[in-house]
Amino acid sequence: MISNLRAVRAIYVFEMSRTGRTLLQSIVSPVLSTSLYFVVFGAAIGSRISEIEGVPYGAFIVPGLIMLLLLTQSVANASFGIYFPRFTGTIYEILSAPVSYGEIVLGYVGAAATKSIVLGLIVLATAGLFVPLQIAHPVWMLVFLVLTAVTFSLLGFIIGIWADGFEKLQLVPLLVITPLTFLGGTFYSISVLPPAWQTVALFNPVVYLISGFRWAFFETADVHVGVSLGMTLVFLAACLATIAWIFRTGYRLKA
């Protein structure tokens, strides 16, 4: 399925150079906004909050904030990456090229995920300047980082194909991703919620991502790390299945 590696590289390099051209918007702005969260929640408000599950509040929110960034950036990058050629019409070239669907996805999603991962690591390093950080399981931290970036880049790819205007392109990140992330335990452990809301929270897929990611840092988690990993993989599989369906039916790509 993947044999035209030159095509994958062409798409990947094309997408990455787009990032390079918009460095300020792509890198500086997300790092800045995340740093603001550290200052406001970690330093200002956090100093009045006692430890959560044995972790200082400023450090506690780091995994959540990285996830917030990872999710929004993955979706935004991947959706824009595939939507823009559809919008301008240059998609004709991709569709008429000797490339498989797998190669197209690998190029676009690979680039979007790469960018998110780099951003995540930059923010992690930035966070280290504000709060003392410890990473209990660095390998698992990276596994969750990569899996989440890939999964949400796939979701972004789907959104970019589904969207038929710039408004829709913004709609999902704004109305779905951000609320789910904020309600998914970025700033708190869901154990602080009333029991009924804890049950509701378990329907939020982001809870599992943040919980697993946080476990890799502090070994404290809302749900078992195995469950987190399992749910992440389920979500990944769901995205892959949707993309397979899109290409099989030509949905919004081929008349």
Binding site: S3, N4, R6, A7, R9, A10, I11, V13, F14, S17, R18, R21, T88, G89, T90, Y92, E93, I94, L95, S96, A97, P98, V99, S100, G250, K254, A255
Partner: protein, 334 residues
Amino acid sequence: MFSPADSTLADPSPADRTPPAVAPAATAPVIAIAGLSKTYASGFQALKTIDLDIRRGEIFALLGPNGAGKTTLISIVCGIVRASTGRVTVDGHDILADYRAARELIGLVPQELTTDAFESVWDTVSFSRGLFGKPKNPAHIEKVLRDLSLWEKKDSKIMTLSGGMKRRVLIAKALSHEPRILFLDEPTAGVDVELRKDMWEVVRRLRASGVTIILTTHYIEEAEQMADRIGVINKGEIVLVEEKATLMRELGRKQLTILLNGRVDAVPEALAGYGLTLAREGTALVYTYDTQGERTGITGLLQDLARAGIEFHDLQTTQSSLEDIFVDLVRQRR
């Protein structure tokens, strides 16, 4: 340069004039389209049933009014639109089962000026080559850009280019991966004279190197100048496929209409040899002749008219053009 005797010897017979790049009709077509139809989700039937073979190395012009199905047909062959029924092979490769092999051979220049905006000319053309799985070849990219007078602009962002330049970029992208078949969808729509000339020069060179070229147009002259064969498509059907030379012979015919002072019931006996027909209820005679023939026979006809005592007050000549044939074909099927 040649003495008269030489030029007689050198003058090739019409059959020999066919350029060597064109393979004999007996060889397999480079594109074979069979039973192809397309009905869009909206219910609009863009293509009825298309059967068409494109010969290796030819320039095939697909003529048709707007909305005839030209772009749909090209889009299906190139993999941008899915056919409802039918089968297409490109150099023997099925466009669905063996899409990689089929698409590698094809370069497409779309009708719309769909280009990137922020990339440089060099980057976007190199991107196309990579997308088609070809290894980097800066020398080839340079040649393509030079041929299309784009070399000076290679580092410019595409958004800063004029419409004509963007058209050149699209052609350069299509040629970046050295296709054996080139589709040009309305290549000269909204293009100035200079670019048109450049483009035809490039097309001629490509053809000389054996590339098959399929172009769509609604400009008849374009087809007249360039094509080896002409196909006319209307309302999703191919209504005519003909050698251009044959069509041009048709075009070489002219009609002379002689407006008589009186009325005749039949073509006079004395003029029987001219193959005249009656027109305008017997007040006019129509003579069809070949402008490319040695003698048109007009002088003789006029002398014989005078001898037969037939008086006339006016003469009109008309020449049917490809355009007339085209308009007739299209009208018949309205």
